[in-house]
């Protein structure tokens, strides 16, 4: 066992995202099917550890202790580490981070990180209750806070402080939906949204409209992480994990210093770039957590892609599109692909892996990408999780 072993994502796959006529456990089985089909060199017996990203199976499926359930559904028998990772909307990335840490520490050689979420239920009010309880339940959620009004207040303040417009929000949604139209697993793969249509969609929480909000989505996915000496068994284009950063600075909304200045993301991304030894300008693409259009705009600013307050203009000018400064969310983002909480971080890692292998639809293929950033926020943007990948080969 060598110290500080390098770790790579060596492949993975996703189920179809959307409103799916399947149970939570069936999604886990589908994740197993697509994983073994997508990573031909993988044998179940060589997977020593399993990390399951699942935000709220207790509410969505009335099931806890899901890690052994997922192992059984996928036909795995992990013999070193088996655990669930819960970090709300960032649960998938949390699973990847734990797998990375385990391999890096020498406790695992080949680990699978899975994400599963089944959000569409006969009662969507139940799903909305589950989402509300991500926030401070007795002191915020019980008073009517859910994600849409929270991000709507963020949007309102950004409009007030920086002159950001609804049209700029729509520019983000249009871009990400266009990419999703070239991603067959995306929830909105076959739904077209032009800017005029987006601006006519009903309000969910003013000023945010339906097209500004990511959907309730059923979906699952899995990736394989391997130690450096095992990587070549699986791929010629490993996605090396070169940097990570994470920051958590409040939970109750009263303790959020600024609605529009996400300093936690600035800190998390600085740490990730520092540990990777690169700067934002070195990136070839970024998967940013666009749970709402306003989120992506503020993320540009917090990461340093543009000055504070200019995120709206950055999007509207096409600077986050293919051919711009840095293409953001070529997968289709949460807005276009849907947001099955625990599976979202896995889907972003699969996108990195497929972009590096040049296996995505040519219309959304980033030219010869070497460096990629993945970001998830969770809750009321109170936790930010960042990873930096470099293509090997």
């Amino acid at each position: 066992m060598s110290e500080n072993r390098e770790v790579a994502v060596v492949g993975g796959g996703l189920t179809k995202f959307g409103v799916r006529p399947v149970t939570w456990a069936e999604l886990a089985q589908e994740a197993g099917e697509v994983l073994f089909r997508s990573v031909p060199g993988l044998e179940a017996s060589s997977v020593d550890s399993l990390f399951v990203g699942a935000a709220e199976p207790e509410r969505f499926a009335f099931q806890s202790h899901v890690a052994p359930l997922v192992a059984e559904q996928m036909g795995l028998a992990p013999h070193r580490i088996v655990q669930r990772n819960e970090l709300a909307c960032a649960s998938g990335q949390s699973a990847i981070r734990s797998a990375y840490a385990a391999i890096r520490a020498g406790l695992s050689d080949i680990a699978v990180a899975v994400g599963v979420e089944k959000m569409n239920l006969p009662s969507m009010a139940e799903a909305n209750s589950a989402m509300a309880c991500v926030l401070d339940r007795p002191w915020d959620a019980a008073h009517g806070l859910t994600a849409p009004p929270f991000f709507a207040m963020v949007a309102q303040r950004h409009m007030l402080e920086h002159g950001t417009t609804e049209e700029q929000f729509a520019a983000v949604s249009q871009k990400n939906h266009r990419f999703a139209n070239a991603n067959p697993v995306a929830q909105f793969y076959d739904k077209k949204f032009d800017r005029e249509k987006l601006l006519r969609l009903p309000l969910v929480a003013p000023p945010l409209r339906l097209g500004d909000c990511s959907a309730m989505t059923d979906g699952a996915g899995a990736v394989v992480l391997a130690a450096a000496d095992r990587v070549r068994e699986f791929t010629d284009t490993p996605a090396w994990i070169r940097g990570t950063g994470q920051y958590s600075d409040f939970h109750n909304l009263a303790n959020m210093e600024s609605l529009t200045d996400w300093t936690g993301l600035t800190r998390a991304s600085r740490e990730a770039f520092r540990s990777a030894g690169i700067r934002p300008t070195d990136l070839d693409f970024a998967e940013l957590h666009d749970c709402f259009t306003i989120s992506e705009l503020i993320e540009y600013e917090a990461i340093g892609l543009c000055p504070k307050g200019e995120g709206g203009k950055f999007a509207a000018d096409g600077r986050s599109d293919l051919g711009g400064d840095l293409v953001v969310n070529p997968r289709g983002g949460l807005l276009g692909c849907g947001h099955p909480l625990g599976a979202t971080g896995i889907a972003q890692a699969v996108e990195v892996s497929q972009q590096f292998a040049h296996t995505v639809d040519p219309s959304r293929q980033v030219p010869d990408p070497e460096w990629a950033m993945v970001h998830n926020l969770s809750g009321s943007a109170n936790v930010h999780s960042v990873m930096i990948y470099q293509r090997g080969g």
Binding site: S123, P148, M153, Q156, L160, P206, A254
Partner: protein, 183 residues
């Protein structure tokens, strides 16, 4: 639907709930108390606890709820570093002392940000839309609290409007509060 009539839904579940809690291990399982189709669906009142957790037997923060019943809005302040804490706490997160004191909060403030939920309500709140909510900057203290905004439509709501705390008693005896827009 007004806030208070929405809150009255709490009554629907109170009686069967208390029966369930007394049923004990030898009685019928809870599901048997409300067979399918026998009455209104179970509803969570505003994501509050399914049973009261406000008494001194349940929480060290019971003085908050007792004061709210008396119309006073309070929180804790650290006696050592003077930090005003929200939500109220039993240990200071800065110096980790348990030497906290209860202090009154101002009952007035102004709207810092607001929105309204027009769709996608949690359980028990489906009929309670649109629901105007916001962050309120309390007068004279460094606290910005989230709450429901009463007495204003979302179309007429504006940043900077004055609000006053409105203590509310839920029909099952629990304390609750919202902010009412004042002229």
């Amino acid at each position: 639907m007004s806030v208070l009539s929405a809150l009255a839904e709490v009554k629907e579940r109170k009686a069967p709930k208390s029966r369930k809690r007394r049923s004990g291990a030898t009685a019928s399982p809870p599901m048997a108390a409300s067979p399918v189709g026998s009455g209104p669906p179970e509803r969570l009142p505003y994501l509050l606890d399914l049973y009261p957790l406000e008494s001194a037997a349940q929480t060290r923060l019971s003085p908050f709820f007792e004061a709210l019943h008396q119309g006073r809005f309070t929180t804790t302040r650290c006696r050592k570093d003077g930090k005003l804490l929200w939500p109220p706490r039993v240990v200071c997160p800065v110096c980790h002392t348990t030497e906290l004191e209860w202090v009154d909060l101002p009952a007035t403030g102004r709207i810092y940000a607001f929105s309204a939920l027009l769709a996608g309500a949690p359980i028990g709140q489906e009929a309670d839309l649109p629901r105007v909510v916001g962050l309120v900057e309390l007068d004279g203290v460094p606290l910005r609290l989230f709450g429901r905004l009463l007495g204003v439509d979302w179309q007429a709501c504006r940043i900077g409007l004055r609000v006053r705390l409105e203590p509310l008693a839920l029909p099952d005896g629990r304390a609750y509060y919202a902010f009412r827009v004042t002229p």
